[in-house]
């Protein structure tokens, strides 16, 4: 089932203009510009310490840029209240240990928070949304189980269900596949892809370049605190870029299914 209604909307929903951010005068991001639209699955890639997490924090409004601006749905991010922002955009955090014995259903229900007023309980309409989100991510059978007893892959799917229940047009995934085995990585990315196909803008910070190339419509490559490339995966994952930004000597091939294949050869030493 493909819903293309959002995709025809021409305006960009998330725009970054000459964004810069420094930690104690050490630049983390410099002059970052991009413009993202609904229906895209964007991969945010780059070596460790390239500023991916910082960019996500800026997009979520958790840190303020030193210069430049972010606008979401045409509104400057700084003008949007936290609660209103949570109706536009949400984050699926990196798999974090959740210690508390909330049930799967209760965690998914937290996604309804920005839509409920203070004393308003979760209503019948919300319950239907919650149920639907759990079914999409295949955790409906776990509904009554405490989250602290789930496996890493299950927990990640619960957090994605929460993001779906939140019904935001934009979803950020922070290394959502980092601690998962290959099968669960695939599941999570397929889920991300299907959300983009439903018309959402999905931005996934991701380490695995082959996975990023395979699933994403577009890759943003952050390195040395700048946005070095913003293009189709085949144009971003090149031998030159891998050598220059990842210090990796590798061969980039196409496999029999015309999928990108990265064959690492050696780490490039000491060229900083």
């Amino acid at each position: 089932m493909m819903m293309t209604s959002f995709m025809t909307k021409p305006s960009s929903s998330l725009v970054s203009e000459s964004l810069s951010f420094a930690y104690d005068s050490a630049p983390v991001l410099e002059d970052v510009n991009f413009s993202l639209s609904q229906g895209e699955l964007i991969g945010l890639i780059g070596p460790n310490g390239a500023g991916k997490s910082t960019l996500l924090r800026l997009l979520l409004g958790l840190s303020q840029p030193d210069t430049g601006s972010i606008s979401i749905m045409g509104q400057p991010l700084g003008d949007v209240k936290r609660r209103d922002l949570a109706r536009q955009m949400t984050l699926v955090p990196q798999d974090a240990q959740i210690n508390d014995a909330f049930s799967v259903e209760e965690v998914v229900a937290m996604g309804r928070n920005p839509w409920l007023s203070r004393f308003q309980p979760v209503g019948r309409k919300d319950l239907a949304i919650i149920r639907d989100a759990m079914e999409q991510t295949d955790v409906a059978l776990l509904a009554k189980r405490p989250v602290n007893q789930l496996s890493g892959g299950e927990r990640q799917r619960v957090l994605i269900a929460r993001a779906i229940a939140q019904q935001t047009p934009i979803i950020l995934l922070d290394e959502a596949t980092a601690n998962l085995d290959i099968c669960h990585q695939l599941e999570v990315l397929e889920l991300a892809k299907s959300l983009a196909n439903q018309g959402k803008l999905v931005i996934a910070a991701i380490h695995d370049l082959a996975m990023a190339a395979r699933f994403c419509d577009r890759l943003l490559l952050l390195a040395d605190s700048r946005l070095q490339a913003d293009d189709l995966p085949s144009a971003v994952i090149t031998e030159t870029n891998l050598a220059r930004f990842f210090n990796l000597h590798a061969e980039v091939l196409l496999d029999s299914h015309q999928q990108l294949l990265i064959r690492p050869i050696a780490a490039i030493q000491g060229n900083g």
Binding site: R82, A86, P93, D100, M110, Q166
Partner: protein
């Protein structure tokens, strides 16, 4: 552990609390029979309308019930409920079962504020000066502790608790200094010592009326944040993602907690362990949901303090044990028991 159903626990604790209140009003040095106490209470409730019908009990008996025992027991109810509910909120806010008004230095801050008020001779002027200073002491302590432990929007819990312990120790030192300075003035020194020991001797209706409105307001505010508190247990990043304005929610709840703790401390002095143990115990029984945790903690805190005060009063008048000593000696072993139990669970 399987959770106990909320309605069951709610009814059980309410029943015990009502029973506790009645027993606490019945027991006392002046011999008034249980029947007479019930009559006096009925008279009180009906505003004297039924006086003729119920029966006539002596005026002195009515006065003791109305003006001495009942307000004292109700003060115990409100102070216990306040401390326990503040502990529950702080434990949720800081995602740490060790957080409580006393561990974070809030209680000692409130004490310091109150001691300053007594030292400056302001406390004698009006009833509201003491709680106001106690609130200021509590609020300043909480904000200082929070600021020390917060760096770039992050508040690591270990740092927070250590900061609480350090600032709390400073508060205690300052209180002792002021006490030492005021020893020459016998009257002020005596008032401070008497006050810091804590307890509910001689607490009357004005104390009930002081803490009741603040409790109602604070509890309502806390309940209105029950969902935010649940979400905060998942971690700050989760809370932000689902639209909880973390700094704002923290600030509001910290201020409300400081206000209520300050008020409770100004009425009853330093009473430890209620705020630490009660919410912990209730959480073990009903799980982490603040919707259930806050009301049950309040009721259980009230019950425990009524019982503790009953134990204080049942001692002879010349060897009465301070209330804080009783709550600590009931609370500390229980807390250790919890620690051991948790250790066993972790070992599997």
């Amino acid at each position: 552990m399987k959770n106990v159903p909320f309605p069951l626990l709610f009814m059980l604790i309410s029943a015990l609390l009502i029973l506790g209140i009645i027993v606490a009003v019945i027991i006392g040095p002046a011999s008034i029979s249980a029947l007479e106490v019930l009559q006096a209470l009925l008279n009180g409730i009906s505003g004297g309308l039924l006086q003729g019908l119920v029966s006539d009990i002596a005026l002195w008996q009515q006065t003791i019930i109305d003006q001495v025992r009942l307000p004292r027991v109700l003060t115990a109810v409100l102070v216990g409920a306040s401390l326990a509910v503040c502990g529950a909120v702080l434990q949720g806010l800081f995602r740490n079962p060790l957080a409580s008004p006393s561990v974070l230095g809030v209680s000692s801050g409130a004490s310091l504020g109150a001691v300053v008020a007594i030292f400056l001779g302001l406390a004698a002027s009006t009833l509201w000066v003491l709680p106001l200073f106690a609130f200021l002491g509590a609020a300043v302590t909480l904000l200082v502790v929070y600021q020390i432990a917060t760096y770039r929007g992050h508040t690591p819990m270990g740092t927070l608790l250590l900061a609480g312990v350090a600032v709390g120790a400073f508060n205690v030192a300052m209180s002792s200094l002021i006490l030492a300075l005021s020893l020459q003035n016998w009257e002020v020194g005596r008032t401070i010592v008497y006050w810091t020991m804590g307890g509910l001797d001689g607490r009357g209706w004005h104390h009930v009326l002081l803490i009741l409105p603040i409790f109602i307001v604070a509890f309502t505010v806390m309940m209105s944040f029950e969902r935010d508190l649940d979400i905060l247990l998942m971690g700050e990043i989760h809370a932000n993602a689902v639209g909880v304005d973390v700094p704002k929610v923290r600030l509001i709840l910290l201020l409300v907690t400081a206000l209520l703790t300050g008020c409770a401390v100004s009425v009853a002095g330093g009473i430890g362990f209620v705020g630490l143990v009660v919410p912990h115990m209730i959480r073990l029984l009903v799980g982490p949901h603040h919707r259930k945790l806050l009301p049950l903690s309040a009721m259980a805190g009230a019950l425990i303090l009524v019982i503790a005060d009953l134990m204080v009063r049942s001692g002879t008048s010349d060897t009465s044990i301070p209330l804080g000593v009783i709550t600590a000696s009931m609370g500390a072993p229980f807390f250790l028991f919890l620690l051991f139990k948790q250790r066993k669970l972790m070992r599997g």
